[in-house]
């Protein structure tokens, strides 16, 4: 099943299918290694449920929910 990253629960795992961000945001997201095929796990969310922290490629990255919307992830 493919879903937007925003909808993923804490500790859920998945594999990135698509990154629909262009321009500056897209560049930044890809530079940090969020490219199709990357496996990730939701590490948790900030106290106010936003931003979200994800674990991938051996490190932890944080994104806002509005940015997580642009990343489609395949989850079991």
């Amino acid at each position: 099943m493919v879903t937007a990253m925003r909808n993923m629960a804490a500790n859920q795992r998945g594999k990135i299918r698509q990154v629909n961000a262009r321009g500056e945001l897209g560049r930044r997201i890809r530079d940090m290694g969020l490219v199709p095929g990357t496996e990730l796990r939701i590490e948790g969310r900030a106290p106010l449920q936003d931003p979200v922290a994800i674990r991938m490629r051996g490190y932890t990255l944080t994104l806002r929910n509005s940015e997580a919307d642009l990343i489609k992830v395949e989850v079991e």
Partner: protein, 734 residues
Amino acid sequence: MASIRVAVAGQPNCGKSTMFNAITGGTARVGNYPGITVDRTEGSYKLNGHEFFLVDLPGTYSLTAYSMEEVVARDVIVDERPDVVVCMLDSTALERSLYLVIQLMEMEVPIVVGLNMMDEARREGLKISSAKLSELLNLPVVECVARVGEGKTELMEAVASLTDSDKVDAKPPAISYGNYLDPIIESMTQLIEKEAPADQRPPARWLAIKILEGDEVILKRIKQYGELADKLLAMAAQAEKRVKDHTASYPEAIISDQRYGFINTLMLQGVLARDNELRLGFSSKVDKVLTHRLLGPLIMLGVLYGMFWVTFTLGATPQDWVADFFNWLAYLGATYIPQGMLRSMIVSGVLDGVGAVMSFTPLILIMFVMLVFLEDLGYMARVAYMVDRIFRVFGLHGMSVMPLVMAGGMPGGCAVPGVMCSRTLRSPRERLATILTAPFMVCGAKTTAYIVLTGAFFARDATLAMFLIVLTSWVFVLLVSRLLRWTVIKGRHTPFVMELPPYRLPTARGVAVHAWERVWQYIKKAGTVILGISIVMWALMTFPHLPASEVAKFDQMRQQAAAKVEQTHQGLAPAEMNKLVLASQAKIDRLQGETALKKSYAGSISSFVKPLTDLAGFPWEANIAFVGAFAAKEVFVSTMATAYSMGDIDPDSSSSQNAESTLEARIGADPAWTMPTIVSVFIFMLLYVPCMVTVVTIARESNWKWAAFSVAGSLVFAFVISISVYQIWTRFFL
């Protein structure tokens, strides 16, 4: 001796600066890149007859035109052409680190790879084959643990042997960018090589890739090629169309996807093996608590409060030592310098002024040590992560927390580095809002004023009072930036894509070096700018002298007072009598000092603004101090010190009792300070104009228009708030 120029590159938090410090030791010097304020650290190192000159590039994840740091790092490599680039890698985030190496290889510079944090990688169960990595990339790879200096010599030996061998072949990486882009990159490269002179441009293939990526800086730069630029842009447009038609993607995305694809292949070929890459590491477990929805914010507030407590408790004793030292100097001055203008200038102007400022050095040192520690530990990134949701409501960014904290979100900061480090914010709007509001924070200089004032009025609850002041400053920062983002700086918010680096205990040396750099800046400011201003303020408060007729009037009053005492207390011992006479004259001395100060230039300025400041209830000493503090906020304390010491000490008598009491006690004893006045002054101190140095920095980071806006806007705003508070309080609550 062969000299080798080395640039040290690496991503943020990879231990690059730690390694740089380990190599260069005491030779490191911090400067600026011309025109911009990114720090440029340089140093040197000698080994086996080679002399290395190293420059520490800003830490960047990538080499696009995303931030000023990335452009700077790139420009050093393109324009200065270092003999070798050392790229430090965080072994625990190997893939992401290699992304930077790949881009450096595309720039066709000789590279030595330093695999840092190998100890941590081993602990995490990562099996990294540096030999395999070296073989696949065809680059020397050295395993390092920068925090203990491991690998430092091997790294520099690798650099030396790379330059010794004549065949330095800095080849681009063997990455295929796919069927759609490869042919176009090839033909663009050939075209550039044919038509643009090689000695005046970066490597052709790199230029071609950057043009396809749509890199703004490069697109601007190639305009100088005229017709060639048009041809290249046409080819890039054609490539974009082809890619779009066939893949629903675009060149920039394909290029970075392929880079990561290449890195994945390296990993699979035996560079990296790990049991479970997404497992819960140590930092993740710690974050379960430190960023917990309830515990996280509580701990954050606890940490902030703990920092005050430690600073003001631990700092009190050394602060007294420094103050005592300057008091002793003042005593020496008063004893050995002949009476007159020079003595008055040195004792009342220089020593009182500079001494008051210098006595806060221990506090600032302690505060910076803790701030740098938390920064290097990785905690500040968690703070940004936790507050982003709130900051966004006020039109700021989670990353604004760093500039704001630096500016004094925890007291001890300074608006100048705060405004400077706002450059890590990518969005011009959030950045501008941060720059304009950062000066509201309680910087180290304002802290000095607040310590004196809270000491004078809330001595028993000084820590609590300071904490409330800092909270108030945060409230104003958030409200004003919301106001700014609704009015003068409208627009959408920017992406928040930030690493949460693993928690790492900073090295004592790293913390010491960083903290000392900042404290040294403070001391230099005290020694130069503030010394000069103290003398100017002293002169403004001393000249013009009272006319001789007025002085004679006060002398006469003193004689009358003495005569009266002698009459009423006849028959006392001469020593006792003398004491009583002096006591009776003290009030007159004070009156004379006050009259002299009010008639001075400073007094004239103060009475010029008096109609306005009366509305806010300021005492005249605060008026003068606020005028002087525009030059530097520390001057507030030194001016108050001068004002209150001049009010007390008459050159002709020795009212030693008053001279020994502290500034806090003297201010606290002044009946002019009622509660509404105190609050009004506290708020005005918080909000009114940034200091001169900050104004210049704001102008440099934005432009003079915004700098002028910052001065005028905050001055008006401060008056409105202070006057409202004072008027409402005195009219309705007293």
